[in-house]
């Protein structure tokens, strides 16, 4: 019994770690740049496929792939904001209209990225084996790669949290998310901060993708599922709240793991029931204001 509980909890924390990463990423994009990025999951898919390709073709250690994939995925997000979303914001002056248009654009982006990946890699599932040996932990047996993913997700989340709270850029990002106009009066370049936030969002999704490829089979259609989960977590935690996304991610992972243990097919159903119930009780999410 105790072993089962430990198994379910650790399994939940692993999923929760991934959820937290992707949700913090989406939260950055929505909280500061006001873009509900429906193509978020495609950056997860890209991270996963880059890693798979590098590992299977060149034998590169997947952990090293985090460092290799991070800069280009960040730059891709940054450049997308500079070339598309910034212009969209310039031509749509009304913020409500911009949010709607930006979401439509990100739908388009989702299909573009997904179909390019489909052309390149096809639709069949891919996978590789990495650190697939078992380790014993408190009497329960886990595969090493899953524990590694958990540790990595926790470290990246913590590092990101420290970055936001301690660094000059992190503070500028928080200030811009709370009052962009006032932030501009103090020399914060809003357009640049927004592009950086979009890039960081893509980066966190990409890292999550690298980690996912170590423990699951991947396919070019995998993105959408994670986009939906990230949206659920971001709403759950409070729109734009980074601590909310962190807590919400781990909470949803744990709940999902418990539900999946009882009845796997009810996992997504449970997520939706939770979010509907929460929105009725706390319309602004756990930490929303």
């Amino acid at each position: 019994m105790l072993l089962t509980v430990l198994n379910v909890v650790v399994g939940g924390l692993i999923m929760g770690g991934i959820y937290a990463l992707i949700s913090m990423g989406l939260s950055m994009q929505y909280g500061v740049a006001r873009i509900l990025n429906v193509s978020h999951g495609e950056f997860i898919m890209l991270g996963a496929f880059f890693t798979w390709a590098l590992h299977t073709a060149a034998g590169i250690n997947p952990l090293l792939c985090v460092a290799i994939c991070a800069p280009p995925i960040f730059l891709l997000g940054f450049a997308l904001h500079r070339t598309i979303y910034k212009r969209l914001r310039d031509v749509t002056r009304v913020s409500g209209l911009f949010e709607g248009n930006a979401m439509l654009v990100s739908f388009g982006l989702m299909f573009v990225i997904k179909n390019i990946a489909l052309m390149r890699w096809g639709s069949s599932p891919k996978g590789y084996s990495f650190m697939a040996y078992s380790v014993e932990f408190g009497g329960a047996v886990f595969s090493a790669n899953r524990l590694l993913v958990l540790a990595f997700a926790v470290c990246v989340s913590a590092a990101f949290y420290v970055f936001l709270n301690r660094s000059r850029l992190g503070k500028a990002i928080r200030a811009a998310s709370q009052d962009a106009q006032a932030a501009a009066l103090f020399g914060i370049k809003i357009n640049r901060v927004m592009a950086i936030c979009f890039g960081i969002g893509a980066l966190l999704a990409g890292i999550a993708g690298v980690l996912l490829s170590m423990i699951y089979q991947i396919n070019t259609a995998m993105g959408m599922n994670y986009t939906i989960i990230a949206i659920i977590v971001v709403v759950l935690g409070g729109l734009g709240s980074i601590p909310g996304s962190l807590i919400g991610g781990f909470a949803l992972g744990l709940i999902g793991s418990v539900v999946a243990y009882i009845e796997p097919s009810l996992q997504l159903v449970a997520y939706y029931v939770i979010i509907m119930a929460l929105l009725l009780v706390r319309p602004k999410g756990i930490l929303g204001r």
Partner: protein, 234 residues
């Protein structure tokens, strides 16, 4: 120091300022009085480049400042406090202050600047880890002023500092404005609270329907029949 010449500004096709010219000398407190919608905030926004002017110019220390990017304000020695303080509600008092010294050159010496500002506003130091949104209206206004001081400005533009404050807080806030004059800082303040403002300011302008209709020393305006009737209710 600050010279505004023939400023014309339109908002969404409607002209809001007509040929506005004002001046503020070094270390002087100059007030802009006027009713709601007279164009006071528009004038501050045009001076700081938040909105573009149709024609005319604003000059500070001999350099054109209208039309510059608002992001450059602090680097030019100008602190602009928009109405309502506009704090970062979910950041601590200390973090709010730090943002006032965001430009890289100032960021490096933010510890020293924090000490200076804490010396001016000792209450802020006691509560530096508290979130800005948990403060009272008066305290928030203090924090907004402190944040403006972090960049060591030579010109402060204040929009409705006293708005919504209890009388005792208004006294305290105005006392701080007076102390700025002693430091040689030029102040241009927009106010509705005409009587107290004229007691504080060296000079004042009256803005009506986007035009400067009166200007003079505070003593002159306090003695002016029209001002007494329309703005002081005497």
């Amino acid at each position: 120091m600050l010279k505004v010449k023939g400023l014309n500004v339109a908002y969404g096709g409607v002209q809001a300022l007509w040929d506005v010219s004002i001046e503020a000398g070094e270390g002087e407190i100059v007030a802009l009085l006027g009713a709601n919608g007279a164009g006071k905030t528009t004038l501050l926004n045009a001076i700081t480049g938040v909105i573009p002017a149709l024609s005319g110019e604003a000059e500070f220390e001999g350099r054109r400042i209208d039309g510059m990017k608002s992001a450059e304000l602090t680097e030019w020695g100008i602190a602009y406090l928009p109405e309502g303080g506009r704090l970062f509600p979910d950041m601590t008092i200390r973090e709010n202050l730090e943002m006032g010294a965001f430009p890289r050159r100032m960021w490096r010496e933010r510890a020293k600047r924090l000490r200076d500002v804490y010396a001016m506003f000792p209450k802020l130091r006691e509560r530096e880890k508290q979130l800005a949104r948990t403060m009272s209206g008066g305290e928030q206004q203090m924090l907004a002023m402190g944040r403006g001081m972090m960049s060591n400005p030579r010109l402060c533009l204040f929009d409705e500092l006293s708005y919504g404050l209890a009388p005792i807080m208004v006294d305290e806030v105005f006392g701080i404005v007076r102390s700025l004059r002693e430091r040689g800082i030029t102040v241009l303040m927009v106010e509705q609270n005409a009587y107290q403002t004229l007691e504080l300011a060296d000079r004042a302008y009256v803005l009506e329907n986007g035009r400067v209709t009166l200007g003079g020393t505070s003593a002159e305006l306090l003695g002016d029949d029209y001002v007494r009737k329309s703005y002081l209710g005497l």
